[in-house]
Point group: C3
């Protein structure tokens, strides 16, 4: 995020606190550009959505603004994380990284767009496991040939993903295959959500633990569940803590507003472009909500760190499954709108299950070739096509 020369300047200046303050007042050039673009897009999105601009233009500008805000949230989190040990940073990042998508889903729920939210959540998982993983494998494979990964982290995350997906799938199966259960749709969904949140809570100690000694005592290598930020990714730009927190707060509030405009623009745009609610959720909302965040996994694969790339991408999907989904299910009970149950369209469930199994197969065989990346991207396209025509 910082060009080399500035980073070295940083390290020389870091001793003198006054200078840190002086530098903090002026963001570096790249940061300024980013902030400028974000503010401009937010203003544009706000103007268009209040003046009733063209449905599609409004929708595109709100989506772009949302992506930029998601990226700003990420930068601010990273700055705060630079003061913390790697364990808590990872937890913080995964908690705050989902914020923009959480806002979009909450506003969509309040607007009664349950189908869009369901499709967007499962779509985010599919986009991670098919599109982003596929791109990472493709880019890594083209640059570095066969890529191997042997640490346990990706395999463990794939297993947890399998467990989470089994829980996500049961309410739909009970509803579709076992008619009598249909009246208990909400209770069963809530029970699954609670289980998923317990798993989420139980995973935090594994993520927080950055205690190589304890692992060594047990004769085990440290394999944290939430991948630690790489040292080089940690190039903190020297924002003081108050600035980082301010940026985080401002962008979070901004994300709240833009999310609302985005959701408002969604329905007219869908009507104009003529695709289904499910397609909008599974492709548009899923990609807009995760776009910037997802680039990291692909960059890691390009840098020939397949273990890290795999863990990061799979972990994104896992966090949605055991964090964002159950939180939204439970929130929907208190939001007053329609309840978000886990009884999902069967094709979505089938796609989720097949995708998880395929990912597990790829992770378990311990190496990837670019061909697999092509196949994964293609599968994402075919699933999107099935919903486009649906």
């Amino acid at each position: 995020m910082v060009c080399e020369t500035e980073a070295s300047l940083d390290s020389r200046l870091s001793g003198s606190p006054e200078l840190t303050f002086a530098r903090a007042a002026v963001f570096n050039k790249r940061e300024l550009t980013k902030i400028g673009v974000t503010v401009a897009l937010c203003v544009l999105a706000g103007v268009l959505s209040h003046t009733g601009g063209g449905a599609v233009v409004t929708f595109v500008s709100t989506a772009a603004a949302l992506s930029m805000l998601a990226s700003m949230v990420g930068s601010a989190t990273e700055e705060i994380g630079a003061r913390l040990p790697p364990g808590p940073t990872g937890v913080l990042q995964s908690a705050l990284g989902g914020l923009p998508e959480l806002f979009v889903c909450v506003f969509s729920l309040r607007a009664g767009l349950v189908k869009v939210v369901q499709a967007a959540l499962i779509g985010s998982i599919l986009a991670n496991l098919l599109l982003v993983l596929g791109l990472a494998i493709l880019v890594g494979g083209i640059k570095h040939g066969r890529q191997r990964f042997d640490s346990e982290a990706p395999r463990m995350i794939a297993t947890l993903m399998m467990l989470a997906v089994t829980a996500l799938v049961i309410p739909t199966l009970a509803f579709e295959l076992h008619t009598a259960a249909s009246t208990h749709e909400e209770a069963l969904s809530a029970a699954c959500a609670v289980l998923l949140l317990i798993v989420f809570a139980a995973s935090i100690p594994f993520a927080l633990r950055s205690d190589p000694e304890r692992s060594a005592r047990h004769g085990e290598p440290t394999a944290p569940l939430v991948p630690r930020p790489l040292p080089e990714a940690h190039a903190h730009t020297g924002w003081p803590l108050w600035l980082a927190i301010t940026v985080l707060a401002v962008t979070a509030v901004g994300a709240g507003f833009v999310s609302e405009w985005f959701v408002e623009a969604l329905e007219p745009a869908i009507a104009k472009l003529g695709f289904s609610e499910a397609f909008a959720g599974i492709v548009i909302v899923a990609i807009a909500g995760n776009a910037v965040e997802n680039v990291v996994g692909i960059q890691l694969a390009a840098k020939n760190k397949p273990d890290y790339a795999m863990s990061t991408i799979l972990n994104s999907a896992l966090q949605i499954s055991i964090g964002l989904v159950p939180v939204l299910v439970l929130l929907s009970f208190v939001l007053g709108g329609p309840v978000l149950t886990l009884v999902l369209p069967p094709l979505l469930i089938a796609a989720l299950l097949l995708t998880t199994l395929t990912t597990a197969a790829i992770v378990n065989d311990g190496e990837t070739i670019w061909l697999e990346g092509v196949a994964l991207i293609g599968l994402y396209g075919i699933i999107a096509a099935a919903f486009w025509w649906g």
Copy 2:
């Protein structure tokens, strides 16, 4: 089963045959307690079921008596096994261990409770692979941190389990997805049962073989399919063979009677407690029939023997799939009651398939953390809930 001091006394006395007889007449204190409790529960169960006590009380007491008898059958088998090499002992244990459950299922079939039997059989597999495996992973993980297992035995059993489940699933799929096959439900079920029994028969040589030389000749480690009893588990209490066989015969006959009372009490209890037949089978019968036996797997995990724990638990599930299920299907053709086909409720089949895939994922990644145990136990709860409301 024997307190330390008595065991050491045993070893000193084992030379003199008269003394062995003398000791045989008096069981040790712990054994006496166990026998007393079992006899008392059996008498209580008999009295309640013949005097028409409260439905629920009768049901609970027969269930408790049945659990104790299952445990006594296990002890007697172990005593007999102490005279045999480990291979045959394993086979004997898995053959006789399923006896009480076999009785319950036979009496249930004669009472026309086909749905209960189907649910109980699949429920026993689910209880093993979710509840017992989950508890073993949870207990092992809390006590010993990340547990690794690298021997091939668990992986091989998981593969065989996958093969068995595929065969178990086909009749239901043929019936649900392929309407024309419905008239051949019984023939297809019988064919699957025969295949499963052939696999069972073919697995006996692998279980019997305790021939490290042959393995060494092939440059392979011995990895028996049926896990051998651990040396320390073998603490034989010094019953002479005639006593062990007598205890086995008496408890087996007792299990026969109590099973009948248990099945008789089942329907009124279900009616009174208000849950479905499927729930009764999947939870109550499955747990009552396996409770004591299942504790062993959890104890092994607690002793930090994850390989052994995994093998024992997975093997229980496999024995039900390729032994108990096909035997009952074929028996049902001659029992005169309704035929037990393998066309099962679709939700049960889906749960079985998902559970097997999840177990395979856990076994294949080669290590477990307590978090996975929590997730497995939670899945069992959610599946039970789906049937509770069904």
Copy 3:
């Protein structure tokens, strides 16, 4: 293919080009027998199918002639391959090996037998992954005990198989679970076919590459996707190139004629024998089209080369999935008959999915015992029975 003494003669004579020609004119004894049998069967098949012989006799003789022609195509390809590096030979073999089956499917499509073609294609995959793999594991296990395989090739092929099957399965799922998509059946099938062909095309570089240096540079062992012919399998019989090409051309044309007679005889034979079109496709056509080719995998297992056997058999299934199936789907759009969509009978899809998962489990656990072979063969029988009665 050549007896020992002739082979050694060959190697002494190989210096003098005139002699090569002289020998070419006379095939060796074994080859002559094979050619004679093939010609005789083809003539018989032609006579019977034009004189209107008994339906079943005509069908059996065309099936036998087709099997022999498939074997001759294989021999000729091997001869041509003897002049090429192993990479291109593998590609050539898998391209031409599917020729007879391609002809049968094309003629069946032109005769409107879409269901037979669908069943035959999926049936060929099932026959490879269950029957042939089962026989290979059984034979290998009986002869050599536990067989281990540790190279990455089988695992990578199993992963690609999983990816291919996911793509194959989506159109059916979209049609069955997502009613609105039904009108786009053909477009979705075409999209899946194009994806599968892209994967096929992308896999060719991996198959062609016989460049150990490049692999070494990356510190990776060479693990080609398409298994290379074994050195000993390469016993070229000394046909000059023109003869090999002539034999290939003649047998290919012959396969074209016999395929047509085979398809013509299929319907009356099905009517007479009284089994369903699906059963005919899944068992008869699938086995007749692959019988000879499949023996190779079993022979490799018998020679205690489980890695090679696994790769060869899995690769056959993969080539059908990503080569033959999409080619036929796209061809059906231009052939003028009914379109071959990928919306298949649900039971067929379920069987394909379960089989692929089971195969992945077997490949991933890294060793096989004969018991697994028995289970796989039995599964094939049960699936066939489900369609027999369907």
